[in-house]
Subunit: 435 residues, 2 copies
Amino acid sequence: MNEIFNARGSVLIANVTLDGSIVDIAIDETGTIAAIGKDARTAIDADIVIDGSDRLAVPGLVNTHTHAAMCLLRGYADDMILQDWLSQKIWPLEAHLTGDDVYAGTKLACLEMIKSGTVAFNDMYFFMDRAAAAADEMGMRATFAYGFIDLGMEEKREAEIKATEALVAHIKSLANPRIKAAVGPHAIYTVSPEGLSWCAEYAKEQDIGIHVHLSETEKEVTDCVAQFGKRPAYLLDECGCLTPKTVAAHCCWLDEAECRLLGQRGVTASHNPASNMKLAVNRAMPYHWLKEAGANVALGTDGCSSNNNLDLMEEMKFAALLQKFAWNSPTLLPAGEAVSMATAAGARALGTGPGTLTVGAPADIVLLDARAVCNTPLFHPESNAVYACNGSTVMTVLCQGRVLMHEREVPGEEEIVREAAAAAQSLVDRAQEAQ
Amino acid sequence: MNEIFNARGSVLIANVTLDGSIVDIAIDETGTIAAIGKDARTAIDADIVIDGSDRLAVPGLVNTHTHAAMCLLRGYADDMILQDWLSQKIWPLEAHLTGDDVYAGTKLACLEMIKSGTVAFNDMYFFMDRAAAAADEMGMRATFAYGFIDLGMEEKREAEIKATEALVAHIKSLANPRIKAAVGPHAIYTVSPEGLSWCAEYAKEQDIGIHVHLSETEKEVTDCVAQFGKRPAYLLDECGCLTPKTVAAHCCWLDEAECRLLGQRGVTASHNPASNMKLAVNRAMPYHWLKEAGANVALGTDGCSSNNNLDLMEEMKFAALLQKFAWNSPTLLPAGEAVSMATAAGARALGTGPGTLTVGAPADIVLLDARAVCNTPLFHPESNAVYACNGSTVMTVLCQGRVLMHEREVPGEEEIVREAAAAAQSLVDRAQEAQ
């Protein structure tokens, strides 16, 4: 089995079901899809052959908003009011977080994402050099932003600028096409207009993305209107933060005009339905307005402490069901659109290719078990993927043609789980000793 | 491996984690929990020993509202307006449904429920003798109601009475303590007050339960008020249908007084969050009122064509998140209450024991993988079960001390999947030929 994980070369996925037909998928040495079809196997001299019988091929999933290392805090505290949860539980733990913790937590997060079909993620947190090391080792694509928070203080802003510049320089020095940097202004209520403007300028100068929280709660909107006389999307736009490389997470409380603005700017709105429900934000992202406005609507899990997992297959179901329920329309966000949000829209957001299984695209491929109970019967595979299955249906995962999981085996799984569990316990112990 | 499924005798689950302690669970020849503790293994001379290391023991889950055989229609049609979906898609298929289809579909449903930790279910559909045969063979507990629909017509009512009496007589003739009958008046908008009253009388006479849909949509309420001058729960109550053995599914549109009425009558309200979201019923069950009123609130998946799976682990998450979102309170329905809904409340609804792992209780036991990624870290196991894990975390399932699944193997799985897929295709083919 180990050869399949260590091998570098061309790959043939033989006799796999793609869009209802049984085909071969040929992947060249660079990890690019070279041919798809009944005789695609002749296009390459395959170093690795994967049997695709009883497997459905779908594009690798893309998680456009998470805080990966927060996996270490999974289940530490739930069912609380947001402010109590943050001040009594999360912040006291985070104060003791080390780079080693972030490395262990991100490894666990990568393992979880691979096991549920995700090949790329958009991360915002601290100690991001260590998170990048974890994602690189796991073979995933990822974009890392340092969470920039100045709270309106010039001194703090200078420190955040330095931290952002250091992370971007570090990521660039890796010269790894799978690992990218973004600028991460946390939100309009934690970053001053000066800070936001610096982030926008710096992202433009470095030609990298922006990762920001937008209109998660009603309070954010009312406070913004009271302080600045305008709604959050307009404030972000004035500071230059709304660009085609911007991913705005949550977007629950956007009004119709803000949705049009996001569409005009070509922004990606990352829908995080499970987190929004769990934290009771009291409004679902207005998907219909964003879609109408031409914004790129993608999917994200948010961090594990407010979800509490990173399973994008499950998140597709939450998105499709929450939109129907919250906007009172059983036809809103049908299965096919939910799949596009989790694949093509995510890939567009992070610039990782078309997010489709087509010749010339990066071989980011997930194989689902066509004989699973959740895929029985199989009238409309996208319906089964969104409404019936979860991440456990994922059997094999390739990223840029490299096999990250095969037949549900990920190399090193036991060690990653053991070390993350130990890191989480040690973190809690340190925080309790300090009290 | 096969011995463990075929054996009938005493069972020892050794070194399993229960409520944070590592214990033995000893099960006697009748399938009853005989002892729990560090030295429980001395209580029996075990015929079968199951290694409980790295496993968390939880009570078997109970699905209090489903139409099991509708598994055959999974993904056949989604994302439609309810009336179009029923009239254009579901009813034309159901018109061709045979007893063999119901048998194959219920087998698939049982397989799916076992694989996600469910040991008992409350079913309403047609050809229920065949459904009962499927559940019996799979080793599960189930209560079957024939879906009684008279549409106010006396002739139809007479036929429904006969069908109900025949099913109840058949189930009683099986003399199988795992298999029970209930009376199944479909809903107040499909059954006349005369039909409802007959159902109540007959259930009382036979000392069996009632299984009914209640206030799923706003239209049901407004129509009922217009026609009868009262809300649906009061109409049901006047007909004698609200009893401690009644399971009322959905309950989305109950007002506060109706919740108090359900509490006074000791009714079970079966919450079906995924179905309610998918069909956009526009209101979530008022859990807080029902809880305050002392009603027994349990959990159900509804049928597979409106969910589209039978995974109660997933349903716990939908329940906990939907309640928080819809009623705007992050503290509503915490993890522990969601687990109780899916276990103790369900067992109370169907009369299958206490639904807890205690000495003297039936050995309906689920073992979860404590080393799964979703159980890492494991600060609060109930939080992990509700918010992080899904049914794939279930490793072993026992019902009345008999092993239905071990290490995710269920005897006959491949054949059940193959036959259900063939039955579903044949059903669709027949329906299309007839058009």
